[in-house]
Symmetry: C4
Subunit: 294 residues, 4 copies
Amino acid sequence: METHHQQTKSRLDLFRQKVYIIIYGVNTPAGKTFDIGLLIVILLSVFTIMLETVEGIDLIFHKELMLLEWIFMVLFGLEYALRIFVSKRPLKYIFSFYGIIDLLSILPMFLSIFISGSHIFGSLRILRLLRLFRVLKLMEFMQESSKLKVALMASRAKVVVFLYTVMIISILIGTLMYYIEGPGNGFTSIPKSVFYTIVTLTTVGYGDMVPVTPIGQFLSMVLMVTGYGIIAVPTGIVGVEIARQLTKATVERPQDIPPAQHGSLNGMVCAHCNREDHRDDAEYCYHCGHSLHI
Amino acid sequence: METHHQQTKSRLDLFRQKVYIIIYGVNTPAGKTFDIGLLIVILLSVFTIMLETVEGIDLIFHKELMLLEWIFMVLFGLEYALRIFVSKRPLKYIFSFYGIIDLLSILPMFLSIFISGSHIFGSLRILRLLRLFRVLKLMEFMQESSKLKVALMASRAKVVVFLYTVMIISILIGTLMYYIEGPGNGFTSIPKSVFYTIVTLTTVGYGDMVPVTPIGQFLSMVLMVTGYGIIAVPTGIVGVEIARQLTKATVERPQDIPPAQHGSLNGMVCAHCNREDHRDDAEYCYHCGHSLHI
Amino acid sequence: METHHQQTKSRLDLFRQKVYIIIYGVNTPAGKTFDIGLLIVILLSVFTIMLETVEGIDLIFHKELMLLEWIFMVLFGLEYALRIFVSKRPLKYIFSFYGIIDLLSILPMFLSIFISGSHIFGSLRILRLLRLFRVLKLMEFMQESSKLKVALMASRAKVVVFLYTVMIISILIGTLMYYIEGPGNGFTSIPKSVFYTIVTLTTVGYGDMVPVTPIGQFLSMVLMVTGYGIIAVPTGIVGVEIARQLTKATVERPQDIPPAQHGSLNGMVCAHCNREDHRDDAEYCYHCGHSLHI
Amino acid sequence: METHHQQTKSRLDLFRQKVYIIIYGVNTPAGKTFDIGLLIVILLSVFTIMLETVEGIDLIFHKELMLLEWIFMVLFGLEYALRIFVSKRPLKYIFSFYGIIDLLSILPMFLSIFISGSHIFGSLRILRLLRLFRVLKLMEFMQESSKLKVALMASRAKVVVFLYTVMIISILIGTLMYYIEGPGNGFTSIPKSVFYTIVTLTTVGYGDMVPVTPIGQFLSMVLMVTGYGIIAVPTGIVGVEIARQLTKATVERPQDIPPAQHGSLNGMVCAHCNREDHRDDAEYCYHCGHSLHI
């Protein structure tokens, strides 16, 4: 019975299955190689775009850089076609977050054949860097990444309160600085004064705007020392969350924990519904029940 | 008996009651809508003031911005009148902190009808941003906000010692820098040198004053690395307090805790004495015993 | 017997005793008033010196500031004389750390009567700010101050290792930056490059020296992100020490702890041997056994 | 038997043994003196190189500085020869990390006798600073240093995830800033914009590039406040690791712990295989079994 079922599968299906494992697979050697290769090609294509904007380099190597651009377009185009080809539900992939980014990273270059100037949008390809986060998952750092994310999520509410307070302080003191220093000393508008306040509060301190009046300088000093204390708040929050996460992990590890919380994910993507975040030992998609190994 | 009592209430009283619930109520849908609406209007009015100070925008949109100012004045004036109207003890509200701020935010615009130039004080309205802290309480972040406040309060003494030390170090090293660098290198007075010292110690580093002599540069380097260590102190203090707060919260939650300490406040304001910080399950004002539900 | 012993005491001795309690006493109302008065006079004298260096203010108020200087000199002189007068061993006080500072803070002004120009050393008086740390002890923040000191002392070894590492990294990368950027881009010598490296590593970032070459910019970026991580080390160390200190305090408080470790000090100074750091309940000096209440 | 065995040893062997103990020994007074002397000579030679690059000093003291250079070369040359002489396997030392650095620190000066201009590489001697880390081990701070290293190692994976995230954010926002601000406002290329992004995110803030457009300023403000939060991550991680390390140390100290983990190392170097990191109570090299006391 089973052998018969497999025989009915066309050769195309077998090829599709193989490609699927290469593109979406994580635990197979072929899948790992593909992911690391993709990582390198994305980084190279991003550095090519970066170099194109350096005038000195673009003048000398313009042709070489354009050639590289075309090579990357072909490679990414091929990858895009393959992803559609192996997907059980291609439309789902095409309209998914990564699907749109993948398209945006090849479209401008492709359009520049017909419409001159559209090449400038090629730097949208930089968004493919986001895909690197997925590649990250494959490696040993996967668990750590999840832990950090959980720690940050847990302190989300505290962080919102903190940002809210920083915003109100910045607007209040920014307005005060505008009236103290005035346009004559470079504080030409309230938005610019708010910009100055945040630059000072976060201890960035560009120095493009500097208080000149004694009262302005005194207020700025108060602001800096306050910033000193305020910076302690997110540090404290995140530190405590990380500590809690680590303690919890030690205590709860033997228990049965859902994957979303304790991050031992297998890094695969369901071919049927494109969901990620499957448990490490998952055989089937937790969302649609489709087999993760095709 | 009870129905009779309610019949004696005039229609005005019923209307007042309704408005009271809208303005001060938190758990009712109408109260929530009012608070969020107020939040948006305050933010819009603040951004209008900010835009007015941007020369380029004010030149083109002066009329539109002034129109907006008048609209906000009417809205805030209406709100102010309603708050007085529904308050059981209007004078208490008028002379309360928020009462004065509410008045200050409409007065300048109103006075500018009679006295030209008084419009400039319109930016006092920015103080209404402080009311946003109250709105914050209504949302899910209420508890977090209280926890942070408790953590900061608990480490108050340590923070004072810390600020005191920073002040003395700044004055001592600022004076030293003044004698090392001298007015020729931009350190024109001791207060300015103290300003430089704090700018450096807090790692802001504007760069408007920079040491030129080798000794001044050496002292600055010592100062920076010291600042490195000193910044660790408030971080450590606040971090530890937050950790303690969280641990205590976990342990003590089942117990009966007074509202001031564990922050499960209902965010309402007593109509009689204008106090806030009532317990989550409070039916009557903890201060004057007046019913919180009118 | 005892009454007879007291009768033999001269009136001068009784007066000396009274003054001693005022100057060195902490728990008596007179002692507290004296300390807070001294605090205010020291701060005022420091602000007078600071204002003298502001050209605009000195031009207009020169006479008034000089008058204030003379008043402060007389006050500090009087205090110095009294301290010698009431001390059982005056030489010990005169050659103690605070004794020398007290003298240095009145000498320059006094000498300027005979030698013109010696007035400039008047700013040595700023060192009296250090005495403020003693005043700090009197207040409720006394314990907190001790705790912080203990926490910092406990992590002393780790801090030395940390500073050592920062120093070596700074010299190594500073030298590298000197050869990469060269004098043409403002990195005129290795010491200046080391200055730049520390300015960057501590995230101060004046911006007076900025890398121009791509390699220099890349190295600086690495340095900044490293500094990001390095700043975490002292923060972590101090935070952990503070946490340990607080935990220990809670656990050990019922036990018998020597004063140097747990900081419930009474803030008095022995009249005989000038030692500080006596236990809160101390009746006699822990060092020489002399009664602390004369 | 034993006395006979020692008699067969030549006088040279005995001398070699003595020198070995001085150079590699740690617990003997002679070894300690040698190490501290070496520390001082290395630091002096580094400061000599630094001073040579300060134009004003080099002009006046050129001859004196060159003389010092020659003295240091002779001293380091002598030390290098002795290290080869006492080593049981000299080639192992010559091609070890420190062996190459030791050679590089004398070669340029030596070559400058024959080839003029080679003197410039003399600053390679600065790499000898790395040897200072070994000297550090000898002192009481040895254990602390190991603890810090273990703490940093334990959080390695988290730090990689963190740096990866910072890199991707920097490139994405850097590219965005390039298109928002453009070459006209100083953002001449994407690499420079990425440099600006990192300068801002790490709160260094040189101020050589500053956003001018309102959108650029807004994005920068978001970046600063984000940087505020991101800086909390490494601080939290390292802090937690340090806390864990300290707790573990207290609990596990009585147990039998391998030297690599708990850092009670004796600071010696095996004469046979040049390995370091031997246990405090080690008699023989853990790697080759050679006696550590010759």
